[in-house]
Assembly symmetry: C2
Homo-oligomer: 169 residues x 2
């Protein structure tokens, strides 16, 4: 289930995030302003801007997969400035996630997870997924969404949730 929650579903969510960027670009075009204004926007003066929200969402997915499986993640310099660079960052993480198979996650729930910031403290893989990766990913994708929504971009919850795998009656 960790694979479904943090690989398949995160790929879907990052594609949804990419679709917000398409809508942001279209809105900027229609209003004749530079889309960079939206990329630099934030909801509070001491909050990270849109680009940083995307970078953290991407790192949550990428570093999480790496920590859960032990497979090294590509490094990135966090220097994206333009729409196409931000979209490329999202695509690179999607490509990395697509390199995993469900069997790569067979020991993930019991993996011992740590990171420099935790000063030696640890979580199990299951705890890390439930308490950190999932809420953090959705937090930053929703915040990116909210920055656009607040500035008039026509994004809605369907864009955020994406398509449902419904079975017909």
């Amino acid at each position: 289930m960790i694979y479904d929650l943090t690989v398949t579903q995160f790929i879907k969510t990052l594609k949804n995030l990419d679709s917000f960027l398409e809508k942001a670009a279209g809105f900027a075009d229609s209003k004749k302003f530079e889309v960079d204004v939206l990329l630099q926007s934030r909801l509070a003066p001491d909050q990270f801007n849109f680009i940083r929200q995307v970078q953290i969402a991407c790192d949550t997915a990428k570093l999480g997969a790496s920590r859960l499986t032990g497979k090294p993640a590509p490094t990135q310099e966090d220097n994206e400035k333009t729409l196409s660079e931000v979209k490329a960052r999202i695509q690179s993480v999607i490509a990395y996630l697509e390199s995993f198979k469900p069997e790569d996650y067979k020991n993930a729930g019991n993996a011992v997870i740590t990171q420099p910031r935790w000063e030696g403290k640890t979580l199990t893989g299951n705890e890390y997924v439930i308490h950190h990766m999932i809420p953090n990913l959705y937090f930053h994708v929703t915040t990116a969404y909210s920055i656009l929504r607040h500035n008039g971009v026509d994004v809605g919850k369907k864009d955020f949730l994406g398509a449902m795998p419904y079975k017909l009656p």
Copy 2:
């Protein structure tokens, strides 16, 4: 794992949401305005206000648990207006979630989930949890957070994520 993801973790997240309300009340007091202003706020004119965000987060948790287990959920009238009413709504859902045990979820992943709005279409319990319940819960809690953050309330990501179950080295 569905129990951990949507009962234990949702209880924690709803308690975090309640803590935002405490901070909102403190901020309103310190600035000498009515906290109702924050409860009625939104980030865009066609977005649901703070109270409605909380109501939907609560219903996502409550109705999800009911659909996954078959246990009837308490009905609520969506008529909360004051801070104490909003807090009571959150507490009522926490109490409902606390009434479940892990064994109530043993068939939840394979349950057939539907709701009137889906016009006969269905999801499995696993699909419903991954594609709908989890992203929807975090979407509305993050949006509620963002409405407060945008209006100057001193909430931060630690308030959103809450305490981590770290094991010491």
